[in-house]
Symmetry: C2
Subunit: 249 residues, 2 copies
């Protein structure tokens, strides 16, 4: 059995998220169906992590085991002819038997796009969070720096998720503005459930000069109330998952 890694881009607009589930379209199910069409064998795939409904991926990673005769590098093309046009396999490579997309992941990068205009923009409706109010980008950049480093991000996670620890390290937060789009790029060793969206939601409120939220207190106390609302899903893109492997993208 070979262990095959696939690098995946998808537009999450029409899916109820990455994870297979009854009675709702998922990216995982579409890819598993394509693998079945190509190999004629029911095959489970393991993603690097779930993405929520309407969240996109530019570089999601998954892996699966197969004894199919199809050469590894041909898998991408073979799967693509069996996938809908909002999902594509960018690459397929063989990885060591012990490789697991989720457990072997070292670094993840997420992008979040905010459209900052008085009037909504139809073309961006599925790919950005529309904020009408004027945002102070200097405040946002200054506040974002407080989040870099190893912290307990409990206040920036949705309750109900059962993780061993809520301590994570954010290596970098890049914030750029081009035309009316503010782009956030978060790089870290892992992110809690909804963590990126809550961080963005908090930074946006601070950028509106709200005094209701407080990043330092949120980090110190772990109290969700000091963090802002969860930003909507359509602005979020899983950009990259890094491993101690050389994965071409």
């Amino acid at each position: 059995m070979r262990n095959i890694l696939i690098l995946i881009e998808y537009d999450g607009t029409n899916y109820n998220g990455w994870q297979r589930q009854p009675n709702a379209a998922s990216v995982q199910e579409e890819i598993e169906k394509a693998i079945y069409k190509v190999t004629k064998k029911q095959t489970d795939i393991y993603g690097s992590g779930r993405t929520d409904a309407k969240v996109h991926a530019l570089g999601q990673v998954a892996n699966f085991h197969t004894d199919s005769a199809i050469p590894t590098e041909k898998f991408a093309v073979a799967l693509n002819t069996n996938l809908p046009d909002d999902i594509v396999i960018l690459n397929s490579i063989e990885v060591p038997e012990e490789f697991h997309s989720r457990y072997s992941a070292k670094v993840k990068t997420y992008r979040y796009r905010v459209l900052n205009t008085p009037v909504r923009r139809p073309i961006e409706r599925n790919y950005a969070y529309h904020v009408r109010e004027d945002l102070d980008l200097d405040i946002i950049k200054t506040m974002a720096k407080l989040l870099i480093g190893e912290h307990d991000f409990k206040a920036f996670s949705s309750s109900g998720s059962s993780v061993k620890t809520t301590i994570r390290t954010i290596y970098d937060i890049k914030i750029t503005k081009e035309n009316d789009i503010i782009e956030f790029e978060f790089t870290g060793n892992g992110f809690l459930y909804n963590m990126v969206r809550i961080i963005v939601g908090t930074l946006i409120e601070l950028g509106k000069k709200s005094t209701r939220y407080d990043i330092q207190r949120a980090l110190m106390t772990g109290d969700r109330g000091f963090a802002g609302p969860t930003a909507p899903p359509q602005g979020l893109f899983l950009k990259k998952v890094s491993y101690n492997l050389d994965i071409k993208s």
Copy 2:
């Protein structure tokens, strides 16, 4: 009766084009329905021109006559609350009685986006023409220059359209490449049916170093056979319509 001009952005993906028609969703119908909800009067709107199914607009212009008591500048907001999220009114202003979005138009600008990558990209599927083959941008830019100026563009129009003359003037063609997107921007005094898409289709084939098409002969003979295939609709955006009026956008 006031004559009100509206500046419109729309994502054409889910519409069968601008023009109202039986049994198919159109942008015009959605806006007319919104005007009805706001004014309680059936009102016809006049667009600057039709756009085909799946074609987008960043600055479509339309006008309509109304005796509604709603202040002109409030129309945009009032209509937007009654429009689906893939259509938006960017602005509403009063124009002279004799103004007609189509007949008064002086200059139009269209954008066309081409995604030039070996593998298709889901996020761009509704907003760009995907071309897998390597394109020679220098050839494309050189050939595009032949189209600038006043020419008979008969060879670059779809047959069956009944226009008085097929002579048009292209003032400028800007071609830029950023990341994997080639962006064409055409400015002219008017464009024949499918003219932008046929020009792009021709330039793309020339960029692939096809010797089957010939812009100079197409312009000289008016023979559609010398021009290339019609590029698909989803890459096309009506960017701007200019009048001898000062329209804020």
